[in-house]
Amino acid sequence: MADTTAPQSTAAVLGRREEGAMLGISRTSRYIAHAILILGVIVVAFPIYYTFVASTHSLQTILRPPLPLLPGDRFFDNYYQALFGGVGRIGGVSVDLLLFNTTVMALGIAVGKIIISVLSAFAIVFFRFPGRMFFFWVIFITLMLPVEVRILPTYKVMVDLGLIDTYTGLILPLMASATATLLFRQFFLTIPGELVEAARVDGAGPWRFFKDILLPLSKTNIAALFVIMFIYGWTQYLWPLLVTNRNDMNTIVIALRKMISFADADTQWHLVMVTSILAILPPIMVVLFMQRWFVKGLVETEK
């Protein structure tokens, strides 16, 4: 009771391993379970592995199926060429610029969303003011309409505001959603009122309370949300497709799409595969390294 940290989530116990042994689950059926899981891992991981394999072979090898199951000897050649030799590819834009654009977009969305949502959730939970519920609903309704359903008018707004081919144009419209606000609101509501009172008695005003108590307590939630929003930003497709015309403003996902042409044979498949690996590596790293928060955040956000 006195422990006022974030309530333990169902996800937090995902890693628990002590139970299950007793319930008459036979050894055989456990072996079968392992077998099915391994099969599942293969199905799930194979496409990514195969992409990696393809990224280490020469174009000639790739164009003559079947592709070997093991990596080839062109790892350094291909990656060097993709990273540093990028002449004439994707309109002369180098992979690092694409990665930079994508990083800016993903970080911008993640950080921006967290900032505006933590502030608005703070206002909604810890203050009473006229119009509070009205504003809550104004924000809440945006949850219902993803950018995909209002692309054209949003695009026109971007044109009117001169935001085409700008980072602002890539980032701001995708910050306009309620998910993060709702998550923070939910979390703030679990903070015991006594803690607020204790802070007030201790002479902390709203800002001090926010800075000294609320933010430190929200650390895990912020981390979780960061991962989710970073991936959301990184994997965006439709929006960057619309608001970037110039090749040097493309994200890596869009650029990758532009590299591929199934109709004619001059697609540099080995470089496409290298670029694919480079495009999926950063978000996979973020997910794997921040797995604990990501899982917790994911399962809790979407409730």
């Binding site: 006195a2 422990d3 006022t4 006594e194 009172e197 802070a199 007030r200 201790d202 307590l217």
Partner: protein
């Protein structure tokens, strides 16, 4: 150090629900005032109004002779110990205690001196680097106390601080709080629903019910002269027996509904025919040899043997008792069992009379 005075303090929620209906209490400098009552009686609301965490609808709260109605909690120079301790979970014990001082811009060495002094007093010196979740319930409780005393405030406010501890620890902490409050001599207001805590801690005891203060006095005075049947029933355990009775012919005391006549020595006899309730604590019912000497007879329905005492629960054979039940506290050596009919004498000198209609003491 300061006095705390409440003058006709009221709290109304949404213009309709009256949580506190005009309470006035004077707490002298250095005294411990305990607010006790069942849940929903308004005691916590009253405390939070003193703290500045609730707005005061009407009336005044003064601390140290100054009216503080419009001041925020930080400007009232009070410290509060919360029911769930409200320790900042992400801060070390040291920082939990120092936080309020830092917010007031106190010099670093002074903060350090005060925190270490308080930690030494409370036996927390070894725990300063820990976080709240690494502490036991009793230790958390001490940190919450420490956070209050480092401030050297004008008043301590306690909001059911022991209710989350187990019985043994509660008893221990009760004594510690009492000693600490004495030693520091800080005026304190303490809210609890536990009458044992209330009796043992209070210099001034306020029994609250339905938003009003039923009685304000020293614990013993309240125990000995409860002002109403509510107070009589609330203070003392097991609760006081209340027997239906009415005033007998002039000079003859009163007649129990069971038919027996009794003359409480120190009580003014009510006028003839007036309906009253005779209050008798369980310890003031004694077992007598036979029904001739008995004031009342009780049919036993349950027996609780506590060792030193035996509690006999039962129904009056004739007449009526409030709640239909009687409890007698008998010596542990008495052997009784269910369905026995016990002849009991009332210690008239220790009995109380209440008006059956108003519930007030006569």
């Amino acid at each position: 150090m300061a006095t705390v005075e409440l003058k006709d303090v009221r709290k109304t929620y949404g213009g309709r629900v009256e949580a506190v209906k005009g309470v006035s209490i004077d707490i002298p400098d250095g005294a411990m005032c305990v607010l006790v009552g069942p849940s929903g009686c308004g005691k916590s609301t009253l405390l939070r109004m003193i703290a500045g965490l609730e707005e005061i609808t009407s009336g005044t709260v003064s601390i140290g002779g100054e009216v503080v109605n419009t001041r925020g909690p930080a400007e009232r120079d009070i410290a509060m110990v919360f029911q769930n301790y409200a320790l900042y979970p992400h801060m070390k014990v040291y920082d939990n205690m120092a936080y309020g001082l830092r917010n007031r811009g106190m010099a670093k060495d002074e903060i350090d001196r005060r925190v270490r002094e308080a930690a030494a007093t409370l036996g927390l010196a070894e725990l300063l680097e820990r976080r709240p979740r690494e502490l036991s319930g009793g230790q958390r409780q001490r940190v919450a106390m420490g956070r209050a005393i480092v401030r050297s405030p004008k008043a301590f406010l306690f909001d059911e601080p022991l209710s989350n501890l187990d019985a043994k620890l509660r008893g221990q902490m009760r004594i510690e709080i009492k000693n600490l409050q004495r030693a520091l001599g800080v005026t304190s207001v303490y809210v609890t629903h536990d009458q044992v805590e209330a009796m043992t801690l209070a210099d001034t005891l306020v029994v609250m019910n339905g938003g009003i203060a039923e009685q304000i006095d020293t614990p013993m005075a309240i125990y000995e002269k409860p002002a109403s049947i509510f107070v009589a029933g609330f203070i003392g355990s097991p609760a006081m027996n209340l027997l239906a009775a009415h005033g007998a012919e002039q000079g003859k005391g009163l007649t129990l509904a069971s038919g027996g006549a009794i003359k409480p020595r120190d009580l003014a006899a009510p006028e003839a025919g007036r309906q009253v309730l005779l209050g008798v604590r369980p310890e003031h019912l004694t077992l007598v040899s036979d029904s001739k000497n008995a004031d009342i007879e009780m049919k036993v329905t349950a027996v609780e043997t506590l060792g030193a005492d035996t509690l006999a629960h039962g129904r009056p054979v004739a007449g009526d008792a409030r709640g239909g039940e009687l409890i007698a506290r008998l010596p542990g050596s008495v052997r009784i069992s269910e369905d026995d009919v016990l002849p009991l004498a009332i210690d008239a000198g220790a009995a109380h009379l209440f008006d059956a209609g108003t519930g007030k003491r006569i």
